[in-house]
Amino acid sequence: MSTDAPQPGLAGSAVYLVEDDRAVRESLELLLRLRGFIPKGFASGEEFLAYSALQRPACALLDVRLPGIDGLELQRQLRNKHPGLPTIVITAHGDVSTARTALRDGAVDFLEKPIDEGDLLDAVTTALTSDQRIVQEARDREELAARLQRLTAREMEVFERITNGQHNREIAEEFGISPRTVEVHRARIMEKLRARRVADLFRLRFDLERNQPGA
């Protein structure tokens, strides 16, 4: 999948590159930049961990052989510092056990030096797509939470019952209000949650429960 331009939506994504060999690092930076990404190189794992301006969606290309902490250790530390950040590990030629460890620890892919351009772009595309989804989901979750914040307590109760599949009449009986009032609540809920149809409410409830298990 060696295309000239990244898939729409991936252009402009950040690719962080940790590689101690200057020539290898700079060549990868040049190529990634030409392919429409925004690469940023680091000469050691410590430098990358100290970097605070990380932007998402992004992915990290880590060379295994590094001075100081090595690529695999760096990969483990990144999991805490930047949860979900997809990593691609660059191994020395034929180092199967390292590759296996990297994949077990959650690497999206591993690349062997000399790095094949097609493999590189495939791996970066996969990693960025994955991170895009992760970022989008997080954003959706936040937005949904913000919208739900705007409901009153009674509206929240009505929302739960509607999405439990109860009819207006049943809800009215339960709360001792008229079905007409339930209709009003429903209209307010639809407006606040920006739902156009009742089916949208069900989807929101579904998303809510998926994102907050046990809630």
């Binding site: 060999d21 020539a23 190529l31 030629h93």
Partner: protein, 555 residues
């Protein structure tokens, strides 16, 4: 006794019956003829000759053919008794004597067949001992039954019986010891083996046999003709050529030599007419000679076989060793290749990526500047890879080095700089003492730097396990008018004795990581410089010595 589990006889197949008949008939004829020949020289009025070769025929026939030949043995014994000795007793006495004797021969043959390894290519001292034991017992029983048979009808006087029995037994036994080995050899196709031998080997064997016969004859002339002492008291001289021949040719030699000695001996006795007076002395002497010669022959065979086994083991061992060292070399080469591959991988990887970038840039005319820039970088990386390859090639193949005169102090300081961080981190004290006024050394600065760096690295590794105070000392002095010695000594526990011998061999590293090639390469470098690198075994601490010549070695 262990059994060789030979059956009493191989099952008879069709056609084998005819062979059995023919061989049986030939055997009977030979048996009677031999008996008659021996009987022309009777040692006493009664039928007892100094040696009886024919029982050996009977026993060997049974050893070779099994129980199927029992009838032939019975027939031969009876026929010989009638034809040669004219059946001295009654029908009953003669029948009993013959049946007893023939039965004992058959049993002896079957016992040998079962308990003795008679293949001459494999027989040893133990087999000779078993063979002699079995035929001693067999001939004893045969003589006893024969004498007993003639005692029943009064042909033999009881008073005469012990003497006749003794004569008969020893005579039979002597015949077995002298003739059976040769007969066994013939039944085992020794002749075919002889024909397969190399012509020169055969010529030597014939020469030796002629020598044996000649020396036996000469000795017999001395013993019986010159007669420095009475009777044949000098006969022990016969042992010398016989033992020599047996030692040279083993059991085959003994089997060939014994009949020669026997025939010579008997002829001498007959010619000098000493036979009747000293038959017993002759029998005992000849028996001792036969048994001694057979044992020496078996001993020689065993020794030769074990020497062959030893030699083949040694060959195997050498092959294994050479395979091992080959494997070691391949392993070292594989490690080296892996290290080289890693070094080359970086520039190659950069080149590949720049090339991909160039392809993108080349499609866009606006990026000309960037394209040229990237191409420059490709060239740079290519040069970097090339430099590395050249350095390696110089180092491993041509040995080409950039020789320049360098101060010793400078070499030591550069080496120290290489490991400066590690010294500080491991809190290792550094001392160097460089004799003032040392001349410069003609060296490749990089290579000798690598050697010293390697020695210092080893010293730091060695100190890792030992407690403070940790110190490394480097000393340089003039070792001789034309050489300077640099010593690297650490305060660690020293190199274990068992490691010392393998120190300069590839793959002998005691470190979990590492190529185990450092000292090997270092020594190669030292030698390319016309110098030496060794471990000072006098010192109880680790002390590596690098000695380099002051005058450049001619290229």
């Amino acid at each position: 006794m262990t059994s060789h589990s030979e059956p009493l006889a191989e099952p008879l197949t069709q056609g084998a019956f005819g062979r059995l008949f023919v061989r049986g008939a030939i055997f009977i004829a030979l048996y009677v003829l031999l008996d008659a020949a021996a009987y022309t020289l009777p040692a006493a009025p009664f039928a007892a000759t100094p040696w009886n070769p024919h029982p050996a025929l009977a026993v060997v026939l049974v050893i070779d053919g099994g129980i199927w030949y029992a009838p032939a043995v019975f027939g031969a014994v009876a026929l010989a008794e009638v034809l040669v000795r004219e059946a001295p007793g009654t029908l009953l006495g003669t029948s009993l004597a013959c049946a007893g004797m023939a039965g004992a021969y058959v049993c002896a043959g079957l016992a040998v067949r079962r308990y003795v390894r008679v293949r001459w290519a494999r027989a040893g001292v133990r087999d000779v001992a078993r063979f002699i034991a079995v035929v001693s017992a067999g001939t004893l029983v045969a003589a006893a039954l024969y004498v007993g048979g003639y005692l029943t009808d009064g042909t033999l006087d009881l008073a005469e019986a012990p003497r006749v029995f003794g004569h008969l037994w020893i005579g039979d036994l002597l015949g077995q010891a002298v003739l059976a080995p040769l007969l066994l050899l013939l039944t085992q196709g020794a002749w075919r083996h002889w024909r397969r031998l190399d012509r020169s080997v055969r010529r030597v064997a014939v020469r030796d046999t002629v020598l044996l016969v000649a020396s036996l004859a000469a000795l017999l002339v001395v013993v019986f003709g010159v007669k420095p002492f009475d009777e044949f008291r000098m006969s022990y001289l016969l042992f010398l050529p016989m033992i020599a021949f047996a030692l040279r040719y083993g059991l085959v030699g003994a089997a060939l030599g014994l009949p020669c000695a026997q025939i010579g001996f008997v002829l001498s006795l007959v010619i000098t007419e000493t036979l009747s007076t000293s038959a017993v002395e002759f029998q005992l002497l000849m028996l001792t000679l036969a048994i001694t010669t057979l044992f020496f022959g078996a001993l020689a065979d065993e020794r030769r076989r074990s020497a062959e086994i030893l030699a083949s083991r040694e060959r195997e061992l050498r092959t294994q060793q050479s395979e091992l060292s080959h494997a070691q070399r391949s392993a070292a080469a594989a490690e080296l290749a892996a290290a080289l591959a890693h070094e080359l991988n970086q520039p190659l990887s950069a080149i590949g990526t720049y090339a991909s970038a160039c392809r993108v840039l080349a499609r866009n005319n606006n990026d000309r500047e960037q394209l040229l820039n990237a191409l420059d970088r490709v060239a740079e990386e290519s040069a970097r890879a090339g430099q590395f390859v050249r350095r390696m090639r110089d180092f491993f193949r041509t040995g080409a080095a950039h020789m320049e005169r360098v101060e010793v102090r400078e070499l030591v300081a550069a080496a120290r700089d290489q490991v400066g961080d590690r010294l500080a981190r491991s809190r290792i004290a550094w001392r160097d003492s460089i004799e003032p006024g040392l001349p410069t050394l003609p060296v490749d600065r990089v290579q000798i730097g690598a050697v010293l760096g390697n020695l210092l690295g080893n010293a730091i590794d060695a100190l890792a396990g030992s407690g403070p105070p940790r110190a490394i000392e480097v000393r340089a002095r003039r070792a001789s008018p034309d050489a300077i010695r640099i010593e690297v000594r650490d305060s660690g526990p020293g190199v274990p004795i068992e490691v010392r011998d393998r120190l300069f061999q590839p793959m002998s590293t005691s470190k979990p990581e590492g190529m185990g090639l450092g000292l090997v390469i270092s020594r190669t470098i030292a030698e390319r410089h016309g110098g030496r690198l060794w471990l000072d075994t006098e010192s109880h601490q680790t002390n590596f010595c690098l000695e380099l010549p002051i005058d450049p070695v001619p290229a």
